[in-house]
């Protein structure tokens, strides 16, 4: 238990400091997301933080329908990052129904979360 906190807290602290980082396994060299204690690919115990490229592709997308009075419809999607990991996120900057599977997107940090805009 040498690190000062678990990987989840470390991840969000990095985001809060403006850095989008992923874990990378020292044993199998694969990237890991979401942040974990052990590598889910090989079981390796050393996961190092590396900067994310921020490049991704929309794997799937949905428009969550919401009444206009409650803020209106919004996008929820899954993005495959160039590093080979997938994350849930949203694409901002275009109407939610215009987000397409296969669309190239790039990451940005907004209010402590990773979101994407069209690349």
């Amino acid at each position: 238990m040498s690190p000062p906190s678990g990987p989840e807290k470390q991840y969000f602290e990095r985001l809060a400091a403006g850095r989008f980082e992923l874990q990378k396994c020292a044993a199998c060299a694969r990237h890991v997301f979401y942040p974990r204690v052990l590598c889910p690919h090989c079981g390796g115990g050393q996961l190092d933080w590396v900067a994310a490229s921020g490049r991704g592709t929309v794997y799937s997308t949905t428009v969550v329908r919401r009444k206009p009075a409650d803020g209106g419809d919004y996008n929820v999607c899954l993005v495959d990052l160039a590093e080979g990991v997938r994350m849930m996120s949203r694409v901002s900057g275009i109407p939610p129904a215009e987000v397409r599977i296969g669309m190239a997107v790039k990451a940005r940090i907004a209010e402590g979360l990773v979101e994407f805009t069209p690349a």
Binding site: E8, F12, F33, Y34, Y59, S60, T61, T62, V63, V64, R65, Y74, V76, C77, L78, R86, M87, M88, S89, R90, A97, I101, G102, L113
Partner: protein, 384 residues
């Protein structure tokens, strides 16, 4: 395990709306009906099994409510698949001689009970899922919508084909006097109903009802001692590869491929031997995915497969003959109703929806967001 245990009794309670009834009372009422069906009393039960989304230590609560001091208790919670999954530990316990008569029960008052929204907020606080919840997916529908959208993108599946699943379920429900939603439903009505999370409309989504169910499992050597014909467990297997949709490796391919293969192997059966299916249809996409992953059609061909009424009454493959979670009952976790419908069909007591001469039934449970997959095969005495 093949043929070593059998279901001796089944019961339903409170399906649809059960205002004024607590979850545990609905489960107990279903247990009472299953016990009466088997000609047993609660005094005869020495194993209790339950799962609940709300009740803490639900196995203890069920035994306490029924006045049972069980030798075997199991309350694994793996989502709606739980009550199909419970077949496996219950069979192991019976075969090990730990107990003789296992009651599996479920109850929910999610439609008429109070505090559902509040309970949801509490659950989110206790289990924040920080890599999904901040993006506000409307779950479970949004997770299944992501799978449906990907299937449509990858295989050309259409919303009309998804709607065919809802229409087939409704047509079966119209043959089932116990089903909750029995008014006519067309493909156009499914497409035109309120969108929830694209591409799924409210008619692509399961019902929100109250209800409970129960079944009694015994060793096969006792299966002739009960009033109704026994349904024998021929094979059962579980598999899961993720919990959250963002961790599902391929949204068009479920762990049913694995649970199905192992259940078929245990049973010595394949898709061609199955007379009817009970598939966990929380959403219309589920039925397509499970027909593909359990070997009834090739990957990606589920949409074409269900077209033209193939899985509806009069079609060549009876699927969800009670009306399913889409049109019969769905009180939050549907798994137990899959088992109960399979048993009723094998007994030949399904009335207007009876599949003539049904010998082998497949019940497939799904839990979480296409996460937990449990396949069980049941057969009549002739299949042993």
């Amino acid at each position: 395990m093949r043929g070593s245990v059998a279901i001796a009794g089944v019961g339903l309670a409170g399906c649809g709306e059960a205002p004024g009834w607590s979850e545990m009372e609905i489960a107990a009422a279903a247990a009472q009906n299953a016990l009466a069906d088997a000609g047993l009393s609660a005094r005869d039960v020495d194993g209790v099994v339950i799962a609940s989304t709300n009740i803490f230590m639900s196995g203890l609560a069920l035994a306490e409510h029924l006045g049972i001091r069980p030798k075997f208790t199991e309350s694994s919670m793996i989502g709606g698949s739980s009550f199909v999954g419970h077949l496996i530990p219950a069979a192991l316990a019976l075969n090990a001689g730990l107990c003789d008569t296992v009651l599996v029960a479920y109850g929910s008052n999610q439609r008429t009970g109070t505090g559902r929204a509040e309970a949801g907020r509490h659950k989110m606080a206790l289990d924040p899922q920080p890599f999904e919840h901040p993006y506000k997916p409307f779950n479970p529908p949004s997770s299944y919508a992501l799978a449906a959208a990907r299937h449509m993108h990858q295989y050309g599946t259409t919303r009309e084909q998804l709607a065919e699943v809802a229409v087939a379920a409704r047509r079966w429900a119209q043959l089932n006097p116990e089903a909750y939603a029995r008014e006519p439903l067309s493909v156009q009505e499914v497409l035109g109903s309120r969108m929830v999370s694209d591409p799924l409309t409210v008619r692509d989504c399961c019902l929100v009802t109250d209800g409970g169910g129960a079944y009694l499992l015994t060793r096969a050597e006792r299966a002739g001692d009960f009033p109704r014909p026994a349904a024998y467990l021929l094979g059962a297997a579980s598999a899961h590869w993720h919990r959250q949709i963002s961790s599902m490796p391929d949204l068009t391919l479920t762990a049913a491929t694995e649970s199905g293969a192992r259940a078929y192997a245990m049973a010595g059966l394949g898709p061609r031997d199955v007379d009817l299916l009970a598939l966990y249809d929380a959403f219309t996409i589920n039925t397509l995915l499970f027909l593909e992953d359990l070997g009834f059609c090739a990957k990606g061909e589920g949409g074409a497969f269900v077209s033209g009424g193939r899985i509806a009454p009069g079609g060549s493959l009876p699927v969800n003959t009670n009306g399913g979670g889409l049109s019969c009952v769905h009180p939050g976790m549907y798994g137990i109703f899959l088992v109960i419908e399979a048993v009723r069909q094998l007994r030949g007591e399904a009335g207007a929806r009876q599949v003539p001469g049904a010998q082998v039934a497949l019940a497939h449970g799904n839990g979480g967001v296409l996460s937990s997959q449990i396949t069980a095969l049941f057969g009549t005495r002739d299949t042993l």
